[in-house]
């Protein structure tokens, strides 16, 4: 067990420090995210500019093969870079889907020409990607999706509706799963494509979330035509491709971006309760310790994972625990911080509330973290089935033709 850098790692760390010092914005004293400082399209514009510099300097995709703009490094270098980057206010939540999910899928199923055409552009954020997966009737049960793909010569004609499409309103490109054969059992009638979001017939509509922000969209697809050359994987083999995408999601998501233990601890040190500083109250101390232990448990679990990855292991389903723990913890922590503020906790006014209302904002955004990228319940199923090897639930939808399955009452 050793936390010190090897000589190569130390040299890389020094390079990363230099790059960040020259190009990134140091964090201010107050908790803030890129999105809270630079809202909406302003945030995107600045994020793209930073991403282009990051790609130029070779820090954007450390573990990608060199031919696509990466450095072919082991994941430990990503940890080192992330450690250095965490001292700065950097964009998060703009390009992870494209780089962490869409590109790995393209690397597995695309042609050489397609990789050459799309990977460097995604890396520099010249093109932003989104993921047209979930539907109003198919969320956790993604394979229940109904968006139809009908073949017409060398093209496919797509009709249907997607939802929860993060960044769909500003994305340039998308990956898409469709139902090409409703007579086949549900997992066997799916086909996977990628396409330009500028294709005629695509209409994203932003959805207003409970936090008031609008990060995601419903996307309507009406007679959208896609050339067959943009199909990834075989006709009817789309489920396997989607699984590739989702396996990569485990690594690229799950980093909690709201206020965490450090902010709660600072709050408790600064706030006065009826009997003195909050941090001196026995009940508060007990809760603080609970949050700390979970936070650190996830942190050191990541180090264990990265150590395994550095030795060449593939990312396994055990990585689901970080997201499962952090999302629920973030919600509880935000709520508890507001309790400490007592009556004042009601106020979400940034100029009035402690830490520019970061906890109040997190109260309203954290329910989404427990749902996006695998709900708490789905993640527990994944741990139970894929890590612990427990049998699947009894399924009524495995063998029947998809069109004969019972559906929700309207």
């Amino acid at each position: 067990m050793d936390f010190s850098d090897t000589r190569e790692e130390a040299a890389f760390r020094a390079d990363a420090r230099t790059f960040l010092a020259d190009n990134a914005e140091p964090r201010s004293g107050v908790f803030e995210t890129w999105q809270s400082k630079y809202p909406d399209y302003e945030g995107l514009k600045r994020a793209k500019a930073f991403q282009a510099k990051k790609a130029e300097a070779g820090f954007a995709a450390l573990h990608w093969p060199k031919e696509w703009g990466g450095r072919g490094l082991s994941p430990i270098y990503q940890v080192i870079y992330s450690q250095e980057e965490s001292r700065y206010l950097v964009p998060r939540g703009y390009f992870e889907i494209g780089l962490g999910m869409c590109m790995p899928t393209l690397f597995t199923y695309g042609t050489e020409e397609q990789k050459r055409r799309y990977a460097p552009a995604a890396l520099r954020a010249d093109e932003v990607w989104c993921q047209l997966f979930s539907e109003p009737g198919a969320g956790s049960d993604l394979a229940g999706l109904r968006t139809r793909a009908v073949r017409d010569g060398d093209e496919w004609v797509i009709n249907g509706q997607k939802i929860w499409t993060s960044g769909g309103h500003w994305a340039d490109m998308a990956i898409l799963v469709t139902r090409s054969d409703p007579k086949a059992p549900k997992h066997k009638g799916l086909t996977f494509f990628f396409l330009s979001m500028k294709t005629p017939g695509i209409e994203p509509r932003r959805i207003k979330q409970i936090s008031g922000a609008s990060h995601f969209n419903e996307v309507y697809l009406t007679d959208v035509r896609i050339p067959d050359s943009q199909r990834l994987g075989g006709v009817g083999a789309g489920w396997g491709v989607a699984i590739t995408t989702l396996m990569n999601e485990r690594l690229s998501s799950g980093e909690y971006r709201g206020p965490d233990f450090e902010e709660l601890f600072a709050l408790a040190r600064g706030l006065k309760l009826e009997d003195g500083p909050a941090v001196k109250n026995a009940a508060v101390r007990e809760r603080l310790a609970d949050f700390y232990v979970k936070t650190q448990g996830v942190r050191w679990s990541r180090f264990r994972t990265m150590t395994a990855l550095s030795r060449g292991d593939t990312p396994g389903p055990e990585n689901s625990i970080g997201k499962l723990v952090n999302a629920a913890k973030g919600q509880d922590l935000a709520s508890y911080a507001m309790d400490l503020m007592d009556m004042g906790g009601m106020v979400i006014d940034h100029d009035w509330a402690p830490m520019r209302a970061a906890f109040q904002e997190a109260l309203l955004s954290s329910p989404g973290s427990r749902i996006a990228a695998g709900t708490d319940e789905i993640l527990r199923n994944i741990i139970a089935e894929r890590v612990l090897g427990l049998p699947q639930d009894v399924r009524v939808d495995r063998e029947l033709p998809f069109e004969e399955l019972p559906t929700s009452k309207r």
Partner: protein, 383 residues
């Protein structure tokens, strides 16, 4: 960076697991459970032949001179197997106390015997059913004689010597080293919630005692000892919690109800998933503690408290939900579920409760934040 045990340490783990599967099987553990036998002396001897007691004792004192990482590896396996031996008292507490504060003569007297498996040690701290504290200790050390009553003392009934926290002539807390075979020592076993481990009340009536470590430095030593033991016990707890999870998993897969394995019901799957998450977080916190202990890092006090809290909660959670997963069978003497349940609670208390460790953890984080603020470090001062 490498956050894992080495190949050599892993092969030690495999070797230990194999040895304990045979020599600390359920049948063997139950020999201690079902009789008045305080511990498995044959197993203790076998462990000594494997060199385990001497793992972290320097070669100069008859040990193997490995580090604490090797001891963590053994601790996890001992916890997994429920081995009924005085290993924790002797090695994590008594031997550590001698290594931290013993004079050369004291080390020479006890360490080689410990390494051989010929001496059992214990730490006598508590004085009744309450958290021990420097202000409330009543046991007295005066003129080389110890007077007072200590209980509960884990392995106090079988120990050859004790490290005793007492109030000295100046009223401050000092540690004393006592040969329990000497005069003025009366011992009575107390029934414990985990009969595979034994506990005693020890009454000292002017028992001859030597000072261990500096006069007045007793409480500080107790705290250092507790931190070090907390990491090692965390590994025992993680091992036990993992065993309870494994047991629940195996039963749920094999047990059919409503025409299917109960492991296919989400109520059971999610229960087991939560057990897994708790065990993994505890394991990761324990790893960080192991790193801090093995490198004598200044982070040890925070890392040890976090490891202790995390492992204590994970083990009790896994042990109680293992019983629940087994249904009625889990509530029988015949099934091993209760052995983990009992051990989980015993380990949860033997170094002080999670409540107290949480308080310590926050106190230490406060102290660290104060130091960082004084040094002008920006990270902790984001208010």
């Amino acid at each position: 960076m490498n956050f894992d045990f080495s190949p050599d340490q892993k092969s030690l783990r495999d070797q230990a697991r194999k040895f304990l599967a045979e020599h600390a099987s359920s049948t063997r553990v139950r020999r201690v459970l079902d009789t008045d036998t305080p511990y498995d002396a044959e197993l203790w001897k076998g462990m000594a032949e494997m060199g385990w007691q001497g793992t972290a004792i320097p070669e100069a004192h008859g040990g193997a001179g490995f580090g604490h990482l090797e001891l963590c590896v053994l601790a996890e396996e001992l916890g997994r197997s429920l081995a009924p031996t005085p290993f924790a008292s002797t090695i994590y507490l008594a031997a550590e106390a001698l290594l931290l504060a013993g004079s050369d003569a004291q080390k020479k007297q006890w360490l080689p015997r410990i390494a051989q498996g010929d001496a059992i040690g214990c730490l006598a701290l508590a004085e009744g059913p309450a958290a021990p504290a420097p202000d409330t200790l009543t046991t007295r050390l005066a003129g080389g004689a110890l007077t007072g009553t200590k209980a509960p003392v884990l392995d106090g009934d079988v120990a050859d010597f004790a490290v005793v926290a007492a109030r000295d002539e100046r009223g401050s807390v000092s540690l004393a080293l006592v040969d329990l075979s000497g005069p003025g020592v009366t011992r009575a076993p107390l029934k414990t919630v985990d009969p595979t481990r034994s506990v005693a009340q020890i009454t000292f009536a002017g028992a001859p005692a030597q000072a261990l470590g500096p006069a007045g430095g007793g409480w500080e030593l107790v705290e250092r000892l507790m931190d070090r033991a907390a990491v090692l016990i965390a590994f025992e707890q993680v091992g036990g919690a993992q065993a309870a999870l494994d047991m629940a998993r195996e039963y749920a897969i094999g047990r059919f109800a409503f025409g299917r394995p109960i492991a296919s019901f989400q109520a059971i799957k999610h229960k087991l998933a939560d057990m897994y998450v708790a065990v993994e977080l505890a394991r990761s916190n324990a790893y960080y503690g192991a790193w801090a202990l093995s490198t004598e890092a200044p982070e040890l006090s925070v890392a040890a408290a976090a490891a202790r809290v995390s492992a204590t909660e994970a083990y009790f959670h896994a042990a109680k939900e293992n019983i629940q997963t087994h249904g009625g069978m889990g509530f029988t003497w015949e099934f091993d579920c209760h052995l983990y349940y009992r051990r989980a609670k015993l380990l949860a208390l033997m170094l002080g409760s999670a409540r107290r460790w949480k308080d310590l953890l926050i106190a230490r984080l406060e102290a660290r934040a104060d130091r960082e603020a004084a040094a002008g470090a920006p990270a902790a001062a984001r208010a």
